[in-house]
Symmetry: C2
Subunit: 342 residues, 2 copies
DNA sequence: CTTGTTATTGCAAACGTTTTCGGAAAATTG
DNA sequence: CAATTTTCCGAAAACGTTTGCAATAACAAG
């Protein structure tokens, strides 16, 4: 069984014809007589011949494989994106090599080089948080490998991009709170050197100002994980008495803050309404169910892959790049119904 | 820039020597004079030469790539496993091609064939729910490709396997409830044609009987998703008055049932204690935080990859197969503290 | 100045395909 | 029957490597 797979040469030898004839017979080349075709094809069928993809790739310099580089697979948003990528890739006959950087710059560099070495037809990247040098991205381009960024894009590199509109998403979330009657809204924000942190905060402020509400620095707390909520519990509780709404930069932060509030006698959403960002599966499970804006990971993945295919198949114009922006949609649940007892 | 990558031949031509010399110089072969080595190496460095992995693989029939076939990436357990696989693969210089079957048998067949065609060095599989024919797995073995199953194993095929001990996990969960004082425990179970459904139910019954408690069929409700809990809400509520504990086959079912109970005036864990299975991130977020048994996805992934490497590098004995079983551990939180008010 | 060693290098085959080009046999035409 | 066209097939190169073997050069010993 460990015997080597059947090759075209094997078939040729057994049938007493040349490899070229076998090759042609297998792909219905008109030069080959019906008789020989029949002979070759049935024999190939019988021995379960399968072409060696490596040899094909080497000859055609086309691997039908794309590379995906992401910070973390174990993250609902990213795995959703991968799912979208995979599904359109599959439809077009592409395989996907997935590389996980774990937010490690060095690994990002190595992974990209490995993909180039393996001659992938294109690469989809979501940048690590710790990447501040972009030579490795340039290297991809210099090697002529099509690349598109999604979500965590690199502004210094000109490529196709697919992103969620964080600014607008935050505006939508904030305006939703305002429409529910909130006037004094707190924002739990991500670090400002990250694009999502910056954009979501600015979206928040924009919505507030549009409604002549104050966007006080004091009501903006740097806090973007479950743990950091608990760490800043005192600070948050100090402010809790003077607010009626919270917009959190992501769902797990939103849920954590609801739990802190509840443990300290506040009622969500009666006293304080809460909205998150991201719409992972946890929003539905939270108590009360969390209103949030939905980040469309699946279609972001699809869109990114489609853009990439455009460049691989050269239907897209070389050197012209597109940016696709997906605006999140509000998913209204219970947590934002200010005044309502649950 | 789109110019083809530098090859050994290019270097040879420019330097006026033969490709073989270049090849040897690059890998410090003793036959090559220091002078030539120096010349070649610095030149290769300068032009940023990178060997073509395809050509290498073709020649050596070793791709340093493994294939992963899983039902769904967007699932905390599976993405955790992948993460474990990836990390040890990376350490050993392997790339991973990931194929998602979406629980589709046809796609599983195609994916496996594609991996064989691409001459991956080994394959890790978690079977789709809808796979009842196993010829494609046999095909992998007949092609001499090492394969190990994880989690959703195929009993009909003899290979290495890595699984979580569902039976024992369920016993642990159930015994925990009993130790908290529960005597009338309901089990929300998965379909019995699935191994996890069967094993977890049997583990549940085993623990009950060990403590001289009844394992009534009537207290076993077929219900293994959030949606199915809501669909069977009436049936569950009918029984709710006569039970003091629930062991659910997975976390989201456990959380859903807590919500149903709470909405109907029951107090968890005061009136009814609840334990789940799986320990995804949602357990922590539930209200009250869910006690559950932890399925160690990350180390399952690591173990599977290590077994595979054993066969790839032939340190493992051919034809002898190992089954690694990981026993889940109890993670005790609030939901199981019978009698306690929160 | 042979002969034998040793140090370097190149040739060619191989991995499994595809494809250009040309050639032999067969079929057609006049 | 000769000339021409068609039909069918094979040789060989190419994709980018590695490697066994042969070849050359240099150099020392006799």
């Amino acid at each position: 069984m460990k015997s080597h797979p059947i090759t075209i040469k094997d078939i040729a030898r057994v049938l007493g014809i040349s490899p070229s004839t076998v090759s042609r017979a297998l792909k219905d080349h008109p030069d080959i007589s019906p008789k020989t075709k029949q002979l070759v094809q049935t024999f190939a069928e019988k021995v379960n011949y399968r072409p060696n993809a490596l040899a094909l790739s080497l000859r055609s310099s086309k691997t039908n494989t794309i590379g995906i580089v992401i910070p973390e697979i174990v993250h609902h948003f990213f795995s959703t994106v991968i799912s979208g990528i995979e599904d359109v890739a599959y439809g077009k006959g592409f395989n996907a090599i997935i590389c996980q950087t774990n937010e490690n710059y060095q690994r990002e560099v190595i992974d990209l080089q490995a993909l180039i070495d393996n001659r992938v037809d294109g690469i989809l990247v979501s940048m690590s948080k710790n990447t501040h040098d972009f030579a490795h991205f340039q290297n991809v381009q210099e090697n002529g490998v099509p690349m598109v960024f999604f979500d965590r894009i690199c502004e210094a590199i000109s490529t196709d991009r697919v992103i969620a509109d964080d600014f607008e998403g935050a505006r939508i979330a904030t305006k939703h709170l305002i429409s529910k009657g909130c006037k004094k809204i707190m924002h739990l924000s991500a670090p400002q050197h990250l694009l999502i942190g910056k954009n979501r905060k600015e979206g928040f402020c924009s919505a507030m100002k549009e409604h002549q509400l104050e966007c006080k620095e004091q009501f903006i707390v740097k806090c973007d994980t479950r743990e950091s909520v608990f760490a800043k519990e005192d600070e948050i509780l100090n402010l809790a008495g003077s607010i009626d709404g919270i917009f959190a930069v992501n769902d797990s932060t939103a849920i954590a803050v609801m739990q802190v509030l509840q443990r300290n006698g506040y009622n969500v959403p009666k006293d304080i309404a809460v909205v998150g960002f991201g719409d992972g599966p946890i929003a539905d499970i939270a108590y009360p169910p969390l209103s949030t804006v939905e980040q469309k990971g699946y279609i972001i993945g699809q869109a990114a892959m489609n853009l990439l295919i455009g460049h691989i198949e050269e239907t897209a114009i070389d050197g012209e790049f597109e940016t696709k922006i997906f605006t999140p949609e509000l998913v209204e649940r219970t947590s934002s119904q200010l005044g309502k007892t649950i």
